[in-house]
């Protein structure tokens, strides 16, 4: 399997997801919702199949390039969307996460990677997979929490009840933040093992730290529940911008002359 076969899976996965989403709009009957769930899971399985096959033929975990990590982002976003949909019955959440996942799949479609098996020695470590996996879970959850934050702001404008929304945001931030902390600390432990430094303020590290700090800020805004909810929601929504810079933008910043984290050229 190489990236040449990728388009088939993009179309298969996205059409399954879109079909699943459309079913959710058919008046609520149990049968249709079950079918929708099956379609969404089918899309996840097809994406998962491509990723597994790519992993096997690369002979290394597909975490090295941006395109490879985008696959994981799509994967975790869709899984998390589905879980949240079933756990909290939030239809819009599934819509958001699946559309975002489809967007990532298409970015890769327009911009695929060259197939490259090499993996530099520093990345050949037992820390590599857990470090990247927890980060991706964290990013997916925090991205979702920020979307909830934006929804909260809209609801406040419309003078609607937002207690449920903000409690959900709190929960997801807590979990996402914990994963982000794992990612940061695993990274530090790994760096110590590989290079003898836990933290070097390399641009990618700086931005990962910034992401951690802005969500930390949100958590502390919410410690006292009487505090201004509007401000907290703004912090949460704007955190998304930092998250996006950290995830996609770092490579383009002027401050990134040479970063150990930019592998793809």
């Amino acid at each position: 399997m190489t990236w040449l076969e990728y388009p088939i899976y993009v179309y298969l996965t996205s059409s399954l997801w879109i079909a699943g989403l459309l079913l959710l709009w058919i008046p609520k009957t149990y049968r249709f919702h079950l079918l929708a769930g099956i379609l969404v899971i089918g899309g996840i399985v097809s994406l998962g199949y491509f990723m597994t096959a790519l992993w096997i033929s690369l002979e290394r975990p597909p975490f090295r390039t941006l395109a490879e990590t985008r696959l994981w982002y799509s994967m975790f976003l869709s899984v998390i969307g589905l879980i949240i949909y079933y756990r909290w019955k939030l239809r819009w959440m599934l819509v958001y996460t699946l559309l975002l996942s489809i967007l990532f799949l298409f970015i890769n479609y327009l911009n695929p990677d060259t197939f490259d098996k090499t993996l530099m020695p520093a990345l050949q470590s037992p820390w590599f997979v857990p470090h990247v996996v927890v980060y991706i879970i964290a990013y997916a959850l925090l991205a979702v929490s920020s979307l909830i934050g934006i929804k909260g702001l809209v609801l406040m404008r419309m003078k609607k009840q937002i207690t449920g929304t903000i409690n959900l945001a709190d929960n997801i931030v807590y979990i996402g933040f914990a994963f982000l902390t794992f990612g940061l600390l695993f990274g530090a432990l790994w760096a110590k093992e590989a290079w003898g430094n836990y933290w070097t303020w390399d641009p990618k590290e700086t931005w990962a730290f910034l992401t951690w700090m802005v969500y930390l800020l949100y958590i502390h805004f919410r410690v006292r529940k009487r505090m201004n909810i509007n401000t907290a929601l703004w912090v949460l929504s704007l955190s998304f911008v930092i998250l996006l810079i950290c995830w996609f933008g770092v490579n383009y910043l002027p401050s990134t002359q040479s970063s150990i984290h930019v592998y793809s050229s």
Binding site: W3, T114, K117, P121, N171, A178, L253, P254
Partner: protein, 408 residues
């Protein structure tokens, strides 16, 4: 009705907290501007430990015996939010500005923004953060209850990590050692090799070894000097019998020698120094049935690479293999006369006395025939403290995942 509180009237809230935090940041910039950057001095053992103990004595004393609204403010969420915000703002600036003082000095560099992590504004805002965090921990630590445990793990762990990593950095050593095969050495140099130090042990490089990823073949455009590759496709593999289409050509790899030298007009298997990867290729033009064949190699420090010209714009070239693994086999001579063999690889450092030895490089000009190995020797006596802090935060975060935000 209650009267609106004026600023500086207790209890202090956002206005006062942010005024103080921003004033501290500006003070930092001013000190950096007027006094300069070379004044900051990091304390070494045991001064750093004394500073840490003094901090805690101070936190606990004030918390217990001084009843003043400022003490309450120091552990309030308002103060915490102001400290986190200002510190984040400073790091945000750092995220956008190149951290290097190489260019011409400007206003930005004179207020410290080109070397944030060794600047006064950084020192002052992080101290503010640490003091607020310290008071917060002190207040929540008593009474000691299970409910406060996660709070203590997260906040205490963070405090420990930052304190041990920053105050401890003056006690840590990071030196570099270059070993040549067959030579014994106990000399290490600091980052710019300005100062040399004698290590308590002697090292001898027995063997340095590199394993490489196999090279690939690609179609090169002679005009642009770039490889032509369809998006998403892979390069041609070097493997006897491998066949692939690139551009208008069908390429067959007839022979592959991972290690060969030139002999007249052909290549023969040989392991001598400077040997190359060599393939014999047959290329057929799919449109005109033209055929080309010849040897293609990656070259080395002794031989120049060979490529196969297909037409006036295209040729087949071999990529330079990248290292997969490199490692050193080293004999260690301890001061007490003991001798031990150790093996060091990237990601697999070795521990010798209280030093940790990392594989960082080799002689890149010689590539896989390098006879020297570049090592880094690191001593970090505060490391266990940092690890305790890290594991406290990990445990605290696990609890966050488990509970979510279920309280209140």
């Amino acid at each position: 009705m209650h009267k609106k509180k004026t600023i500086w009237e207790f209890p202090w809230k956002y206005k006062e907290s942010f005024t103080i935090a921003i004033a501290l940041l500006i003070t930092g910039f001013a000190i950096e501007y007027f006094i300069g950057k070379n004044i900051i001095w990091l304390p070494t053992w045991p001064t750093n430990l004394i500073i840490i103990i003094a901090f805690w004595a101070y936190f606990i004393f004030l918390d217990r015996y001084v009843k003043h609204p400022i003490i309450n403010w120091l552990s309030s969420t308002y103060a915490a939010i102001s400290a986190i915000s200002v510190f984040t703002a400073l790091i945000l600036l750092m995220g956008f500005i190149i951290q290097s003082d190489k260019g011409t000095p400007s206003f930005i560099s004179s207020i410290g923004l080109t070397h944030v992590t060794s600047s006064w504004p950084y020192l002052i805002t992080s101290m503010y953060l640490m003091i607020i965090l310290g008071f917060t921990i002190t207040r929540r630590f008593f009474p000691l209850r299970i409910k406060n445990l996660t709070f203590f793990l997260n906040h205490g762990g963070l405090w420990l990590v930052i304190a041990a990593a920053s105050l401890g950095s003056a006690d840590s050593w990071k030196l570099s050692m270059v070993l040549n095969e067959g030579e014994q050495s106990n000399i290490a140099g600091d980052s710019r090799n300005r100062n040399l130090f004698e290590m308590p042990f002697k090292l001898e490089l027995l063997d340095f070894d590199i394993e490489e990823f196999p090279p690939n073949l690609g179609l090169l455009s002679i005009k642009t000097g770039k490889l032509i590759i369809e998006k998403g496709d892979k390069l041609i593999e070097v493997e006897a019998g491998y066949e692939d289409k690139v551009g208008d050509w069908n390429i067959i790899v007839e022979t592959y020698y991972p290690s060969a030298v030139v002999d007249g007009d052909k290549y023969v298997v040989s392991e001598v120094m400077g040997s190359v990867h060599a393939v014999f290729i047959v290329a057929e033009n799919l449109l005109s049935d033209e055929k080309r064949s010849g040897w293609v190699t990656n070259g080395s420090m002794m031989y120049s690479p060979e490529y196969l010209i297909l037409d006036n714009d295209h040729s087949i070239v071999m990529t330079i293999p990248t290292p997969k693994k490199y490692s050193s086999q080293i004999k260690v001579f301890y001061p007490n006369g003991d001798i031990e063999d150790v093996f060091i690889e990237v990601n697999k450092p070795a521990r010798i006395l209280d030093w940790v030895i990392y594989q960082v490089g080799y002689d890149e000009k010689m590539g896989k025939w390098s006879k020297s190995s570049i090592l880094e020797v690191v001593r970090d006596p505060w490391l266990p403290v940092v690890y305790v802090g890290i594991f406290m935060i990990l445990a605290g975060s696990l609890y966050l995942v488990w509970m979510g935000r279920t309280k209140n």
